[in-house]
C-alpha cells in the first residue's frame, strides 16, 4: 500500500471507531457546552477582552481533554499490530488529520453555542472564524505529538499539561491577538502577519512530528 493510501485507511478507521462509540465526541461536546454555561452564569455580561480570553481557555481545555486520549484508547497489542502494517509516519499523520477534523467540528460547535448564549458583537465574523479554524488546527497538531510523548511516559494527565502548556502558549498568544483584531473589526491586512506565523508554526510542528514520531513508535 502506498503511503497516502495507508493514511486514508487509518483516518477512515479512526472515524469509524469514533462513529461507532461517539464517546469522545459526545463527552467533549458536553464538556464544552457545560463550561460555556458555567461561564455564562458566572459572568452574565463581560467586555470583549474577557469574552475572547474565556473562549480560548474553554477551547484549550476541551482540546487537551479530547486529544490526550488519542494514543491511550488503543491497547498495546493493537498498536503492535499497526506497527507491522503501516509506517509510523502514516500513523502520526492520520492521527493529526483525524484530530484536526475532530477539533474543527468541536470548535465550530463551541463557537456557535458560545456566541448564541453569550452574545458579543464581532467586528469581523469571517476573520474570527478563520482564527478559530487556525486555532483548532494548531491545537490538534501540537497536542497530537505531545500526547504521543506522554503516552510513552506512563501517561499521567499532569505530565500532558506540563509538557503541552509551554509549547502551546506562543500559539495561544498569536491566536488571541488575531481574534482580538477580528473582534475589533480592524482591517484584514493588519492580521496577515499573525496568520502567516500561525501557518508557519503549524508547518514546523507537523514536519518535526513526522521526523520524530518513528522514534517514539519504535519501542
Amino acid at each position: 500500500m502506498s503511503f497516502l493510501e495507508q493514511v486514508r485507511y487509518l483516518v477512515y478507521k479512526e472515524m469509524l471507531l469514533e462513529w461507532r462509540s461517539k464517546y469522545a465526541f459526545n463527552s467533549i461536546l458536553l464538556y464544552v457546552i457545560s463550561t460555556v454555561f458555567v461561564c455564562y452564569q458566572a459572568f452574565r455580561s463581560v467586555d470583549g477582552v474577557v469574552w475572547n480570553a474565556l473562549f480560548w481557555i474553554i477551547l484549550l481545555f476541551a482540546s487537551i481533554n479530547a486529544i490526550s486520549k488519542s494514543f491511550v484508547q488503543e491497547s498495546r497489542g493493537r498498536q503492535l499490530y499497526y506497527y507491522t502494517l503501516a509506517s509510523p509516519n502514516a500513523i502520526i499523520l492520520s492521527k493529526i488529520i483525524y484530530n484536526i477534523v475532530l477539533m474543527l467540528v468541536l470548535s465550530l460547535i463551541a463557537l456557535f453555542v458560545y456566541s448564541v448564549i453569550f452574545r458579543n458583537p464581532l467586528g469581523d465574523p469571517f476573520l474570527y472564524l478563520v482564527s478559530v479554524v487556525l486555532g483548532s488546527i494548531s491545537f490538534a497538531t501540537v497536542f497530537t505529538m505531545i500526547s504521543g510523548i506522554s503516552a510513552k511516559a506512563n501517561n499521567n494527565g499532569t505530565l500532558m499539561a506540563i509538557l503541552s502548556f509551554p509549547v502551546i502558549i506562543p500559539l495561544l498568544i498569536v491566536l488571541i491577538k488575531l481574534s482580538k483584531n477580528a473582534m475589533d473589526g480592524l482591517d484584514r491586512s493588519v492580521s496577515y502577519d499573525e496568520i502567516f506565523v500561525l501557518l508557519a508554526i503549524n508547518a514546523i510542528v507537523i514536519s518535526v512530528s513526522l521526523l520524530l514520531f518513528p522514534y517514539i513508535w519504535r519501542d
Binding site: A153, N154, V174, V208
Partner: protein, 222 residues
Amino acid sequence: MKSYWWKFLGAAIVAYTVIAGLLGEVPALPILHESIRNVYFHVPMWFAMLLMYLISVVYSIKYLGSGKPEDDFIAVESVNVGLIFCLFGLLSGMLWANITWGDPWPNDPKLNSSAIASLMYLAYVVLRNALDEEQKRGKISAIYNVFAFPIMIVLLFILPRLTDSLHPGNGGNPGFSGYDMTGSMKWVFRPAALGWMLIGCWIMTLRYRIRKLEYHTDEQSN
C-alpha cells in the same frame, strides 16, 4: 595545555570584561546612565543560554541516532546549565529594568517569552524525572527537546518582533546592527559574549564528566 586552552581563554576574557566593563568608558546617555554597563553581563547570559540549548538539541538528535548514553548526558547537562544562564539573564534583566523602566517586571513580550521558554525546559527536566527506565528516558526526553526547540526559537525571536517591546531590536526599535555602541563598548561587549559562552561550555563539560563517572560507578556496583 593543548586541549583545555579555551578554558583559560574563557576565564581570562570574563575577568577582562568584568574589569573593563566596570571601569571602561561608556557614553553618558539619558535614562540609562551608568546602568548601560549591564549590557556586558545581561546580554551575554542570553547568548550563552542559546548556545547551551543549541548544543543540547544537537546532542539530542545525535542520541536519537546513536543511542549512546553519553550523548544524552551532554544534552541534559546543557539544558541544566542553560537554565542557570536563563535565571541569571532574568535576574540581571530585572535589576536593569527596575532602574531604567521603573519596574522589575514590565509587561514586555520578550520578558514573558523568555519566562515561557524556561518553563518549556523545566518541563523537559520534569519529563526526565517522570521516566524510570534509562533508555526510554533518554529517547522520550530527546524527542521532546527537539520538538520544543523550534517553538522556543519562534517564541524568543519571532513573536517579540511582531509586537511593541521595550527591548532594542523589537517593534521598530533599533537592533544590535543599528545599535549605537561606541567603539570602546564593542570591544568589551563582543568578547564578553564569547567569554560567557566558553564558561558555559566549561561548566557543562564538568557536569557531564561528573555524570559520566557516576554512571560508570553505578554500573560497576550493580
